[in-house]
Amino acid sequence: MSPWQAGLLLAFDLTLVLTLLGVAWQLLRGVNLFRSVVLFIAFGLLLSLAWVRLQAPDVALAEAAIGAGVTGALLLVALGRLRRMASGRHGGEGS
């Protein structure tokens, strides 16, 4: 591996890590729940990219399918149910 290739990869790693942290920070602020959930799914996908970089393709596959996919779906459906409860009974819940 040539030095500039290594440097490029390093830059990629740094960018990925910083993006992960940024996305995590944003989604955990919890200002808008729907945005948080969408960001979480994005986070999962980025994470599986990180797993690939860490030479763990099995984990990457599992993360993409389960961590991002299924968990994301679970979160979305839970959020939908929350909203429906809010509109059904109360007024301003689920912001």
């Binding site: 955990l28 919890g30 959930v37 860490l54 299924v70 929350l82």
Partner: protein, 105 residues
């Protein structure tokens, strides 16, 4: 070699920070859905440390990979239960927060 180490260290630091971010949000954020997200972020941090810590210089250690796959499934199960419980709490109490942490508004 230096870069190889550096790459590991970048991910180690990232794992630790994700873990800490999750802990912080889990304690501070009132909404249960965000708490569930926080638990997942914490878990991701731990997985990252686990995967990175044992990736040696030449041989790839498959054991952490297996552990993390197991961990991911456990995490999704825990999240599913937590979300279902959250909905029950919401239905019973009218809010998806823990009572002592109810917001001021």
């Amino acid at each position: 070699m230096i870069t190889e180490n550096l790459v590991g260290e970048i991910y180690l630091v990232c794992g630790a920070l994700l873990f800490v971010l999750g802990v912080h949000a889990l304690v501070v954020r009132p909404h249960l859905l965000v708490k569930v997200l926080a638990v997942n972020i914490m878990g991701s941090g731990v997985f990252m440390v686990l995967l990175t810590a044992a990736s040696g210089p030449d041989l790839i250690d498959p054991v952490p990979h297996a552990l993390v796959i197991t961990g991911i499934v456990v995490a999704v199960c825990a999240s599913a239960v937590a979300l279902a419980l959250m909905l029950k709490v919401r239905a019973a109490t009218g809010q998806a927060r823990l009572p002592s942490e109810a917001p001021e508004d």
